[in-house]
Symmetry: C2
């Protein structure tokens, strides 16, 4: 992992009130960074919208770059958790892919600024940008590897397959969830699943 | 097309010397926007690096946003042309996919700032960002539709398939060409092609 957990260098709220303030700041940061962009956002923009004194901000985050990093880490963590919950208990890899993609689109719908924030990471903190995708790929590779070991999927470079499937999800989410502000149409979702299963399922 | 051709609003160099100056400015813009980011780049940065008087810049482009737009249009146009040249005369859809992906990776290798510039378009000019992908998808959809009509590919929502394949290419290019500064490894390239052909080829 190229990015140190931000938790090591920033204050972790010990009280529930402190935790609520910290979460409030992160939620507002997600909203404002997404709307105005990182470079046009100031710490004051965040504290004013959050209704928090500027001094309080610095109790939780040393600066703008730090809250940005924690936000990306939080978005990554929550996305992976949602996908994990969705695929848990699914029977077979096909069901896992369907549920995983659906959970991803659902997360994008609820966090419309996810793409913009991750894209800005490329400029704010390139290592964080890579970390975001590498971390997402890690879990995917593990699941694909297992499906290959069980003989459900053909043996293909699992990392390449993981990046292919992540790219598919990202582009479908962009095309429909972000641009059209609607769910990925059934026909499009089905096309992606047919492509994946046709391409990866073992035939014999 | 959502974005008007920038040619309609900016001066088109009539002389070869003018064309060379205009191209020089675009080349330098590609370099500097990629390195420093759009918001940290000024027109002066571009003219100084290009060795061109500031007044001359405005003969060709009304401002920073305009040269950025023309640059994205140029990158899009050249990428599509390179892919077109590569796939021309390929026998069958599989050969077309192999050549098209290879041409894309080659273009990314030669234009390492392509991703960063397109990603910044999301913040500089969101309509331009969408245009870039829609325009790329258009040609892809056409090719896929033809392969489906000829019975080479299964009938699946061609636009969804186009976005899936574009996403695959983008993520593989990011993972290896950009991050590792090398070609997409043979194993990874093969995995992507197997996934595509297994998923799309008609079986009967």
């Amino acid at each position: 992992m190229e990015v140190q957990s931000a938790g090591k260098e920033t204050y972790r709220a010990k009280t529930s009130k402190g935790e609520a303030t910290r979460q409030k700041l992160l939620d507002v940061a997600e909203e404002i960074f997404g709307a105005k962009g990182y470079f046009h956002t100031s710490v004051v923009d965040i504290t004013q919208r959050a209704g928090v004194a500027q001094g309080t901000f610095y109790v939780y985050f040393p600066g703008k770059q730090h809250i940005f990093r924690e936000l990306v880490e939080e978005l990554s963590h929550n996305l992976r958790r949602e996908i994990q919950i969705a695929v848990n208990g699914a029977a077979g890899r096909k069901e896992k892919e369907i549920r995983g993609f659906a959970a991803f689109f659902d997360y994008v719908r609820k966090h419309r600024n996810l793409y913009r924030i991750v894209q800005e990471a490329e400029f704010v903190d390139p290592a964080l940008y890579k970390w975001y995708y590498r971390r997402l790929a890690e879990g995917y590779v593990k699941g694909l590897q297992e499906a290959m070991d069980r003989g459900e999927f053909r043996r293909l470079d699992p990392e390449a397959v993981a990046y292919c499937l992540m790219g598919m999800g990202e582009f479908l989410g962009m095309r429909w969830v972000l641009w059209e502000k609607k769910d990925v149409p059934e026909e499009a979702f089905r096309a992606a699943m047919e492509l994946i299963m046709g391409g990866l399922e073992k035939r014999d």
